[in-house]
Symmetry: C2
Subunit: 306 residues, 2 copies
């Protein structure tokens, strides 16, 4: 079951109270792929400039990441520079240089067109639609977006929503898209516009899976140390989609378990800068963390409950 992600492959410079990085591996497709590959092989489609340290990507290939769909073209790679507040609750973008990403026109290699599980990372909704046109018969398509596209390409985004199975966004994005501050009403508003499911990520407060008439909540892993929130949402998506691709299933029970894998990946992601939080994480570690989530949320049964 081919798992495909289309998104940014970037160089991030991040400042937090606990340290900083310069031109480190970043971008939605990279964070997604590193997480997903703990569960299932993943193909990446993206674009980089001639300055990209492709060798660093290739070093991750043995995990099961196929970078062959990442085009290398003349020019500068996408760069993002940001600074987080003392409590990591907010961040300021210091610089965005699109470089070759500005002319990104995703072209799927033959093998990627047969992908069954597709994640459309946060890129221009027109490009997300063009990816959908190239995929022959997907079983589950999930997409992300951001406030910039909600404001500047709303009509295209609404077209996209009609064609995806799932929207996976932050709570602030769900609120902005729907125009409703109540997150459950916002979720229902989105369900009414196409997707059969909505995942709303709430950072340190976990994430919601909203389906018609039924909601599931997974908390974030209780971490006493958080170093860098960058990419946590994409790592969540990677865990979520990686689990579904591995199990080749899209029913509610599997989606709920996929939420746990997503939350686990989010917790690894924030535990280190760029993708370092995943260093040394084995499948056994992941399964243990997943079991920890089961305990974290477990309501012990009793005669008069449940």
């Amino acid at each position: 079951m081919t798992l495909l992600v289309v998104g940014s492959v970037a160089l991030d410079s991040v400042f937090t109270p606990f340290g900083e990085t310069a031109d480190a591996l970043g971008g939605s497709a990279v964070h997604f792929a590193v997480a997903a590959s703990l569960l299932h092989p993943v193909r990446v489609v993206g674009i980089v400039g001639e300055d990209y340290p492709v060798a660093q990507l290739e070093r991750l290939a043995p995990r099961g990441i196929d970078w062959s769909g990442v085009e290398k073209v003349p020019g500068e790679s996408f760069r993002w520079k940001g600074k987080y507040s003392y409590d990591l609750q907010s961040r300021e973008t210091l610089e965005t240089r699109l470089g070759v990403f500005a002319d990104f026109r995703p072209k799927l290699p033959p093998g990627a067109k047969a992908a069954k599980y597709v994640f459309l990372g946060n890129i221009d909704p027109e490009l997300q639609l063009s990816v959908l046109d190239q995929v022959s018969d997907p079983k589950l398509v999930a997409c992300d977006t951001m406030n910039y596209w909600i404001q500047s390409k709303r009509d295209t985004l609404m077209q996209l929503l009609k064609r995806v199975d799932m929207l996976m966004v932050n709570d602030s994005e769900a609120r902005e898209l729907s125009g409703d501050w109540n997150i459950h009403r916002a979720g229902r508003w989105i369900l009414d516009r196409g997707p059969k499911r909505v995942v709303i990520k709430q950072g340190e407060f976990g994430a919601l899976l909203i389906e018609p008439g039924r909601t599931f909540h997974i908390p974030a892993y209780p971490l006493e140390e958080v170093f860098d929130p960058t990419g946590a949402g994409d790592a969540f998506a990677g865990g979520f989609m990686g689990y579904l691709a591995r199990e080749d299933a899209t029913d509610t029970d599997h989606l709920r378990r996929a939420m746990v894998y997503g939350a686990a990946m989010g917790s690894y992601s924030v535990s280190g800068f760029d993708v370092k939080g995943f260093e040394g994480v084995s499948s056994a570690d992941l399964e243990e963390r997943v079991r920890h989530f089961v305990d974290l949320t477990n309501i012990p049964r009793a005669e008069r409950i449940g």
Copy 2:
């Protein structure tokens, strides 16, 4: 198993985007008692002025609330006036008039001294200590506090912490008390100062039960309509303590189930102004809502999970 709450009995005037109240039933002890009484009889100790509509309290007595420990003295009752933001995420205090509450010196009636389950609502920690001095042999004492006491009576509060089994506060209060923005470190900091357990309430994001080496999270009930957050935390405490008193148990499994009852009561509380969210709520309704929480958090088991 006597359940006792000591706290404020107030008249609240609340403005929200959805309506307003004037001199309506309020105060921590009132919100606590109305919620707890759905599960177990509850005794209230507090103080009101001659202007208090005691008949309105008495109308709630058939639920199993014993108001006989509420002293009536000459003067004005405690009044609070507040205004919520459009999304109910923040509020501004417009007026606080302590009235007779300023001279409150809790004096437990004989029956209350034998209380086994004791909730010390948010009052001066000196008074909370004086209540503890009057209780003969409690099985579980939980207490609340607020930023005002954390700032003005820190030493007394730290003495109190050594003598209670559980602190139950908002996340902002846990952060201020510990001086740590990471909520899990803040929880551990509190555990190191006396209480064996900490409950940290996170509003629309649910609540955490932090024990040494183990954490439990319960989300908030997914509500599409929220009218008035006032008293939700006290209603949570009422559900939590009411369940423990009913079951007469304080082990981890019961505490986790108590968290569910607390969250259920919080959801009723915010669904109406003052205590109106509880009108018409039966035990059967409550049990159904509790079962809904079980589904909301249920991670379906699979061979490779759990």
